[in-house]
Amino acid sequence: MPTEPLLTAESLHLSFGATTALDSASVQVHAGEILALMGPSGSGKSTLLHCLAGILHPDLGRVTYAGRDLTAMHDDERSALRRTEFGFVFQFGQLVPELTCLENVALPLRLGGAPRRAALRSAAAWLERLEVSDVAGKRPGQASGGQGQRVAVARALVTRPRVVFADEPTGALDTLNGERVMQLFVAAARETGAAVVLVTHEPRVAAYSDHEAVVRDGRVRAREHVR
């Protein structure tokens, strides 16, 4: 049954100086679906993700989230949206090194005004869900790469976002650790009903998606429906 897409990019153009990063790129994400953005390095897939998430502003074109024009929003409004409705997982370097893993996961809730005790309780439950309770009291630097990414996934999901943006989330991990992160990430996202926009150049990671869109030279070439 066809429903309105949750997130839509229409004919996005974006240049960095003389370099065209996006050239009439369009893509749609429906609620609860996992979309893989694939393509070679420099194809524009990360730029497209950043535009979809309201981090980058396209020169032309429009991004619509839940019926609201993200491109026409005030910066503060967009930031608030990113904090409350979007979650992010990057390749590495996203956890605050001075905080423990538990505090890292609790941070988005605290920034949203949640009381400390409730935030920590919720964070602990998410660490358990991602099977990394044992690093709760450790700092990110003391956790392994795979553990760190699971903590990052927990932090992205703790606010129960409607969309999670993941840019090469397993890019720095070996096969086995990468697979475990993807299994836990996808299961948790499905459980919360979050849509996922997943940038990856690895076919085995893309195989966790429901559909793929291929970005080449700043354009989206194909989008396949599978389910």
Partner: protein
């Protein structure tokens, strides 16, 4: 039927004798396995019977005097073959390579061939991923083996896509 489709695709450039067709095939696709004359003529006979090629009469007798031309039905047949993905399995490269080169020769979008194939590969990889993640250790190992092979195909596909301009220039030269 790869040889038949390949010969048909090569005929899109213009009518040819069986001998020329064999030489053209061997040059582009037959490095390890050149075609036998018998195979060329039997394939052409079958294509003729199915209305995919026609013969331009020339004085003289014998199969080597016949010039073969692709029919409209033949052109549609090639386009249909290029548009349908191959069943994903290891060691597909030679068929895929043939399809890409023929697409470039006949003006079909070669990137479409790759995109269609990629989505077919990913469809199977999703199935295998679900089976693996829900299965026991034996399932996991068996599925992983298939997944790594399919991934290798996809890497080849991406590399080919990245080299498409270069390949097009060479093929059309």
């Amino acid at each position: 039927m790869t040889v038949a489709h390949t010969l048909l695709g090569l005929l899109e450039a213009g009518p040819r004798h069986g001998y020329d067709l064999k030489r053209s095939y061997d040059e582009r696709f037959g490095h390890d396995r050149p075609l036998h004359y018998g195979q060329v003529y039997s394939t052409l006979a079958r294509l003729l019977k199915n209305g995919l090629v026609e013969v331009e009469a020339e004085p003289g007798a014998g199969p080597e005097r016949k010039k073969y031309a692709i029919t409209d039905a033949g052109v549609s047949d090639v386009a249909g073959w290029l548009a349908v993905p191959e069943k994903p399995e290891p060691y597909l490269q030679s068929t895929l390579y043939t399809k890409v080169v023929l697409a470039l020769l006949t003006g079909y979008d070669a990137n479409d061939v790759l995109d269609t194939q990629r989505s077919e590969h990913l469809r199977l990889m999703r199935e295998l991923t679900r089976r693996r993640d829900g299965g026991d250790l034996a399932d996991q190992l068996v599925c992983d083996h298939a997944l790594f092979h399919l991934e290798a195909d996809l890497r080849w596909l991406e590399l080919t896509a990245a080299r498409m301009q270069q390949l097009a220039a060479q093929v059309r030269a």
